[in-house]
């Protein structure tokens, strides 16, 4: 075969040294890069010089030493114990946790709600489809900040605790936020929860085992009895063995406010409501596009193979739709996380709000903004990495 190839083509191209001439492309490239990098370095050097001079004039010490000082700033809601006597570092950690708190719950709720709206938009029922479409259009075309302010104003306009709305027994909605009943948490509940988590891991193993056996003999086996036993039965048994404690902790009006139960502050509630409704509209469009991207022929071919509707969805349509859905969904999750920074406008104390107060109190503007950016970059990169891993798992395996 090699005889048919012109031997001249097999020779490597002659190596040329860089000529010091404008006509040489590589020479030009080097000159350009040196010029541009030099210009950027000069501007940075100039800015840093100015900053140092300004900081000296204003007598601001740079560095993160202020993190150990007493913060003295009150924080309304916190996932870890916190008092104003604690350090700035702890205050900022509370802020970062608050950001994560709203972002994680927001992502889960927005995914569920958005998927529902997206599927509703494809519904055969005209009315359902229209309502979903109107929802998406209206919510997408109004700024999120405006929506947050709107929800917050609405929540603040609610009556006080004494006249609070009581849509379901035990649930109170007033201008102090949402109060929900919760069970009195005891050891038995923790144990049941632990068994549930173990059950999830065991179920995953059982599913793998059943799949291996199906590969061996082609016989499908039902997983749901295992699921019922491991996820529902076993936790209930553990809970019952430990004495089956059940006492509801219902919020009760005492004086001017409520005692007991779980409370959701109006700030958190407004932020979560705004983020979820806004992001859900975008997720709905992504889900719709993903489902529409699966060709009709795939449904027909699957049905021709004798699969029933559930199997078609699970085995044929969803895996293909997910490939289209996951990459844009990742950027929506990132958007939701970044948009949670708008909390500062309605007074929910997330990382931006607390870092902003910190930099106003200490004058450490550069450090404060570096902390905000660092926290968000960390969260963004973590979500990206996870979603890239997930995307690689479900991606089309090509030869």
């Amino acid at each position: 075969m090699s005889s048919t190839v012109d031997p001249r083509l097999l020779r490597a191209p002659p190596k040329k040294g860089i000529r010091l001439s404008w006509a040489d492309e590589r020479f030009r490239a080097i000159i350009w890069q040196v010029l541009i990098v030099g210009a950027i370095a000069y501007v940075l050097w100039w800015l840093i010089g100015n900053t140092q001079r300004n900081l000296e004039v204003r007598r601001i010490a740079t560095g993160f030493g202020f993190l150990d000082r007493e913060a003295g700033l009150p924080i309304g809601e916190s996932l870890i114990p916190y008092t104003p006597r604690d350090t700035y570092f702890r205050a900022l950690s509370v802020g970062a946790l608050n950001t994560l708190h709203v972002a994680v719950i927001g992502v889960v709720l927005a995914t569920i709600f958005g998927t529902l709206i997206g599927v509703a938009r494809l519904s055969k029922n005209w009315l359902v489809g229209r309502i979903a479409a109107i929802y998406v259009e209206v919510v997408r075309d109004v700024p999120l900040l405006l929506q947050l302010l709107f929800w917050y104003t609405l929540l603040q306009g609610l009556p006080g605790p004494r006249q609070s709305l009581n849509p379901v027994p035990g649930v109170f909605l007033s201008n102090r936020g949402l109060k929900l009943p919760f069970i009195q948490w005891e050891t038995a509940h923790s144990a049941a929860l632990g068994v549930f988590v173990l059950g999830c891991i065991a179920l995953w193993g059982v599913a793998w085992q059943l799949r291996q056996r199906q590969y061996a003999d082609g016989q499908p086996r039902a997983l749901w009895p295992w699921g019922l036993g491991l996820l529902v039965g076993l936790p209930i048994v553990v809970w019952a063995v430990l004495g089956a404690p059940f006492a509801a902790n219902t919020p009760v009006l005492r004086g001017f406010n409520f005692a007991g139960g779980v409370s959701v502050s109006p700030e958190y509630f407004a932020l979560l409501l705004g983020l979820v409704t806004y992001t859900a509209a975008f997720i709905a469009e992504i889900v719709r596009a993903g489902i529409l991207a699966v060709h009709q022929g795939q449904w027909e071919a699957a049905q021709a193979l004798g699969l029933h509707r559930g199997q078609v969805l699970k085995r044929i349509v969803l895996p293909q739709a997910l490939r289209v859905i996951v990459p844009p969904m990742t950027s929506q999750f990132l958007n939701l996380t970044k948009n949670s920074s708008l909390a500062v406008a309605i007074g929910y104390q997330d990382i931006v709000s607390i870092a902003n107060t910190t930099l106003n109190q200490t004058g450490q503007a550069i450090e404060g903004i570096a902390i905000i950016m660092g926290v968000y970059l960390t969260i963004s990169l973590s979500i990206s990495l996870f979603m890239n891993w997930y995307n690689a798992r479900i991606a089309l395996v090509e030869r």
Binding site: D141, N339, S341, V352, A365
Partner: protein, 374 residues
């Protein structure tokens, strides 16, 4: 064998009536609203909910609403109707403030013309007839006229300092100037990210990923708190301009990714053909690559524009007087406190009109461009 029906007698089949109503409104209702038990139940439930909600909304927004109050701030009538009827009097009273901020009252025809000029500019830019080099000239002239009208100081118009500008013109200025500068920047960055020169590529990657990884608020804070530290003493840049720079940097990174998608979608043959013709890098880029690549990404570009138009509202957090801030300030006055919902609905309608028009435009454009490509 050639004709299997040959010789066989036709099998008599039961007589079937023509199906009732396969077209017309009743058939449409049967297919789309009442196709089964579940569908019927859902339709009825939703219809009930919509009708009751709609009635109470109409009651609140129109029938029980109060459109004007005596004296301009005697809001007792509104307070009595709280929760029963909307107090549109706040809009009647404050709409000039919400739209134009603290701009001198007698001169408010100037920001009004500015808003109309902006809308005219958008409409002209949207028409494909005007997609020519002259469009750039139209933009420069219009933006110059807008600056002239806002500042004044000539032709008998009194000078109005920038601190008094506010409301809708600020929102339009931030978004339009932002895009006018961010768009060329984004093209350069997108080209840089695909460049073979490692140093330039790295700078562009770091810029895009850094900006896309942090929220716009942190950039705005940087512009308002950190930027004064960057400048030599005595040199001071106006707050609006600093916010504008932050928005340009932010928009540039996002638009660059959209443009890059277009550059990547362009078939390699186009690049190679341009090389074969002996075109230089800039000739190739300006004459062959960009015209095709940008045309391909116009719909996503418009979607990104919508995003930025909405995101300019974030300047509220650093205290710049845009439409949303003006609305929020309008209800600070004790007489009008507690009527935020009405004001926010009014502002939402303005934003909605702009964004909805853009999104419809993007959809129609997408349809047009797709038909042409097929």
């Amino acid at each position: 064998m050639s004709d299997i029906t040959a010789g066989s007698t036709p099998v008599p089949t039961a007589r079937r009536d023509a199906p009732i109503h396969t077209s017309g409104p009743i058939a449409w209702l049967r297919v789309n609203l009442f196709s089964g038990w579940v569908s019927t139940a859902v339709t009825l439930l939703l219809a009930y909910l919509i009708v009751t909600r709609l009635i109470s909304f109409v009651d609140w927004a129109f029938i029980n609403a109060i459109w004007a109050v005596p004296g301009g701030n005697q809001t007792q009538a509104c307070r009595d109707m709280k929760g029963i009827g909307a107090c549109w009097a706040v809009i009647t009273e404050k709409h000039r403030f919400i739209l134009f901020g603290t701009y001198p009252y007698d001169e408010q025809w100037r920001p009004l013309i500015v808003c109309l000029l902006f809308i005219g500019l958008y409409v002209v830019s949207a028409m494909r007839r005007f997609w020519r080099a002259e469009l750039g000239l139209i933009w420069i002239v219009t933006l110059a006229v807008i600056g002239l009208l806002m500042w004044g100081g000539v032709f008998g118009m009194p000078y109005v300092p920038q601190e008094r500008w506010g409301g809708l013109p600020i929102t339009l200025i931030l978004s339009t100037f932002g895009l006018a500068f961010a768009f060329p920047l984004s093209i350069l960055v997108a080209l840089g990210r695909r460049s073979k020169m490692p140093a330039i590529k790295m700078i562009c990657v770091v810029y895009v990923e850094l900006v896309r990884g942090v929220p716009l608020i942190s950039l705005l804070f940087m512009a308002s708190v950190m930027f004064p530290l960057f400048l030599p003493e005595g040199m001071n840049i106006d707050k609006l301009l600093r916010a504008q720079v932050a928005i340009i940097l932010f928009a540039g990174a996002y638009l660059a990714e959209v443009v890059r998608a277009g550059l990547q979608a362009l078939p390699k043959g186009q690049y190679e053909a341009a090389d074969a013709l002996g075109l230089s890098y800039w000739q190739k880029t300006l004459l062959i690559v960009l015209p095709q690549a940008l045309r391909m990404v116009i719909p996503p570009l418009v979607n990104t524009f919508i995003g930025f138009f909405k995101d300019t509202s974030l300047v509220l957090i650093i205290g710049i007087f845009d439409l949303l801030t003006a609305g929020k300030t309008a209800i600070v006055e004790p007489a009008w406190q507690g009527f935020g919902v009405e004001v926010y609905i009014f502002i939402a309608l303005i934003y909605f009109c702009f964004c909805f028009a853009m999104s419809r435009y993007s959809q129609s454009l997408e349809a047009q461009l797709n038909t042409r490509r097929r």
